[in-house]
C-alpha cells in the first residue's frame, strides 16, 4: 500500500490546523531525525514559527544502544534556542513503540526545562510499548507487528508500508 503525496499534504494541513488550536502564540518546534525533520519543516512553515527549527538526534539516548551499537550516520542534535520555560511542539514522522519519543524527551530535558511539550506525528500506528500518545496526528493506522511504515523525502514526501518476512 502506498500513499500519494496528495494525501500527505492534506494530513499536514489538518495537523497544522489542529496545532493552531492548542498551542500558545510563541511555540518552538523540534523535529526528530530524519523523517521527523521533514514533517517539522512543513509544519514550521504552516504555523509561521519565527524561531528556527530545532533538530534532534536521539541516537545517544536510545535504550537499545547496547544491542545494536551506534548508527553509522549519526548527525548532531542542534537546538538553536533555549528550551527553558518554553512551549515545544515535538515532531516525528511515525509514532510506533514510543521509545524514540521517550529518548527525545530525555534529551530535551538535558537542554533545560520546557514549560510544555506537545507531541505530533504524521502517522500514529499501533504497537505502543510505553504510555505515550500523540496530541495531534495526521493519520491513524492499525498495522501488524511485522508491517513497517517508511517515509521517504524530503521532496516529495511518500509513504510505503513494507511487510517483513
Amino acid at each position: 500500500m502506498n500513499q500519494s503525496p496528495h494525501d500527505i499534504e492534506l494530513w499536514l494541513s489538518d495537523m497544522a490546523d489542529q496545532l493552531k488550536k492548542i498551542v500558545s502564540d510563541t511555540p518552538l518546534m523540534i523535529g526528530i531525525q530524519t523523517g521527523g525533520i521533514w514533517i517539522a519543516e512543513r509544519l514550521h512553515k504552516k504555523l509561521g514559527i519565527e524561531e528556527p527549527l530545532g533538530r534532534l538526534n536521539i541516537a545517544f539516548y536510545r535504550d537499545d544502544f547496547s544491542h545494536i551499537g551506534l548508527h553509522p550516520r549519526v548527525m548532531p542534535s542542534n537546538l538553536p534556542f533555549s528550551v527553558e520555560n518554553r512551549e515545544i511542539i515535538l515532531v516525528d514522522d511515525v509514532l510506533h513503540t514510543g521509545r524514540t519519543i521517550r529518548a527525545a524527551l530525555n534529551e530535551i530535558f538535558d537542554y533545560g526545562r520546557p514549560s510544555r511539550i506537545i507531541l505530533t506525528a504524521l502517522i500514529e500506528r499501533s504497537g505502543r510499548e510505553l504510555p505515550i500518545c500523540a496530541d495531534v496526528f495526521g493519520k491513524r493506522m492499525s498495522l501488524k507487528a511485522n508491517e513497517h511504515v517508511k517515509l521517504s523525502g524530503p521532496e516529495p514526501l511518500a509513504l510505503e508500508i513494507k511487510t517483513a518476512e
Binding site: 545517544f60 539516548y61 542534535s77 542542534n78 509514532l95 513503540t97 524514540t100 538535558d110
Partner: protein
C-alpha cells in the same frame, strides 16, 4: 610485541572493538571516528553535559606512566557518556612486565570493568593487554612507549578537519623529536590514510629515524625550508631527558635551530594553524608569541580531545554485540 596486528582491533563485522593503533585501519573507520566526535562535541556546551550512552558501564583508566591531560580528558569523556570511571596511577608500584601486569588485569576483570584505557612506557603494552583480556572487555591505547598514541592523532585530525575541511590538498609538517614520539608515528599513519597531500618531518638528524621515508614522508633538517607553504604545523614536545642524553646540545641551541617563532612561521601559508599535543615548553620548541598567537589551536585540541575520546569509547563499547549490522539499521520508532 611491538609488531602490531591491527586485526585484533576489529570485531567480526570489521567494527572497532579495541583502539590500539591507527596503522592498518581503513579510511572510512577514521572518518566515522571524526563524524561521531563531531556529534559528541556539542554535549559539552549543553546544560547537562552528559548523554546516557554508556550508563552502567565501568571504565578503568590504567596509567602506568604519568599523564595529566590525557588521563583527565579520558576521564571526562567517560563521564560525559555516563560511564562510571576509575583512574589508577600505577606508576609508583614496582610492577614488572608480564606476570604482574596480567595479575593487575585479572584483578580489574574481577571487578567487572568493561573497558581499560591504558598508558604505558613500553611499546606494545596496550596490544599485550588487548590480547589477554576477557572477551567482553575493550582496550583503548592512551599512549604506549614510542609506538602509538592513536586518540591524540585522531584529535589532531579532528582539529585539522575543523579548520581546513578536506585533507587532500594539505601539506603538514611535524617538527621536533620524531624518533621518540608516539604522537608523530600515529599522526603520520592517520594523515596518510586520510590522504593528506604531503607529510613532512622536520628535526635534527639525531632525532629522526633513519627509515622514516618508508612511511611516505619527506625529511627536512632545516626548519625554514620545511615550513615553506605548509598548511599545518604540528610541534612536538622536546623531553628534557633527551637533553642529557647527548642527542642534543642544549635547550637554547635547540630553540635557535628548531624553535617555532613568528618570523619562521611567515614562510608557511598565511592561514597556517599551529598545533602541539602539550604540555608546551615555552622558549624550547615554541615561542610564547606563537603559542598564544592567533594561529595557535593548542587549546582547541584539548576540547576536541574529549569529543574524540567519547567517540572512540562509544564505538568500541557499542560494537560488542553479536547482532548483524542490518539490525542496527532497522528503523524503530
Amino acid at each position: 610485541m611491538t609488531n602490531s596486528n591491527s586485526n585484533i582491533q576489529l570485531d567480526k563485522h570489521g567494527r572497532l572493538k579495541h583502539f590500539l593503533t591507527i596503522e592498518g585501519l581503513d579510511r572510512n573507520l577514521l572518518l566515522d571516528i571524526l563524524n561521531y566526535a563531531e556529534s559528541f562535541s556539542g554535549v559539552g556546551e549543553r546544560a547537562v553535559k552528559k548523554v546516557p550512552l554508556l550508563r552502567g558501564k565501568t571504565i578503568a583508566n590504567l596509567f602506568f606512566e604519568p599523564s595529566t591531560r590525557t588521563r583527565t580528558t579520558f576521564e571526562l569523556a567517560a563521564k560525559r557518556l555516563s560511564a562510571d570511571v576509575l583512574s589508577l596511577n600505577i606508576t609508583h608500584s614496582a610492577t614488572k612486565k608480564g606476570e604482574s601486569l596480567l595479575d593487575t588485569l585479572r584483578t580489574l576483570e574481577a571487578m567487572h570493568c568493561d573497558m581499560f584505557v591504558v598508558r604505558h612506557a613500553d611499546s606494545g603494552a596496550a596490544h599485550f593487554i588487548a590480547a589477554n583480556v576477557a572477551p567482553g572487555i575493550s582496550v583503548i591505547n592512551g599512549g604506549d612507549g614510542r609506538h602509538a598514541h592513536p586518540t591524540q592523532a585522531m584529535l589532531d585530525m579532528f582539529t585539522i578537519r575543523k579548520h581546513k575541511g578536506d585533507f587532500a590538498p594539505l601539506r603538514v609538517a611535524i617538527v621536533g623529536d620524531i624518533m621518540h614520539s608516539r604522537v608523530a608515528r600515529s599522526e603520520i599513519h592517520a594523515l596518510s590514510i586520510l590522504g593528506a597531500n604531503e607529510i613532512r618531518v622536520i628535526g635534527p638528524r639525531t632525532l629522526i629515524p633513519k627509515d622514516i621515508q618508508t612511511l611516505g614522508v619527506h625529511v627536512y633538517h632545516d626548519l625554514e625550508k620545511g615550513l615553506q607553504d605548509v598548511d599545518v604545523v604540528v610541534m612536538l614536545r622536546l623531553q628534557h631527558e633527551r637533553m642529557c642524553s647527548a642527542l642534543l646540545p642544549g635547550e637554547s641551541e635547540y630553540f635557535n635551530l628548531y624553535g617555532l617563532t613568528e618570523k619562521r612561521l611567515s614562510v608557511a601559508k598565511p592561514d597556517v594553524i599551529v598545533m602541539h599535543p602539550g604540555p608546551i615548553n615555552r622558549g624550547v620548541e615554541i615561542d610564547s608569541q606563537v603559542a598564544d598567537g592567533k594561529r595557535s589551536v593548542i587549546l582547541q585540541q584539548v576540547s576536541h580531545g574529549i569529543a574524540v575520546r567519547m567517540a572512540v569509547m562509544a564505538m568500541a563499547m557499542g560494537n560488542l554485540s553479536n547482532l548483524d549490522i542490518e539490525d542496527a539499521d532497522a528503523d524503530s520508532h
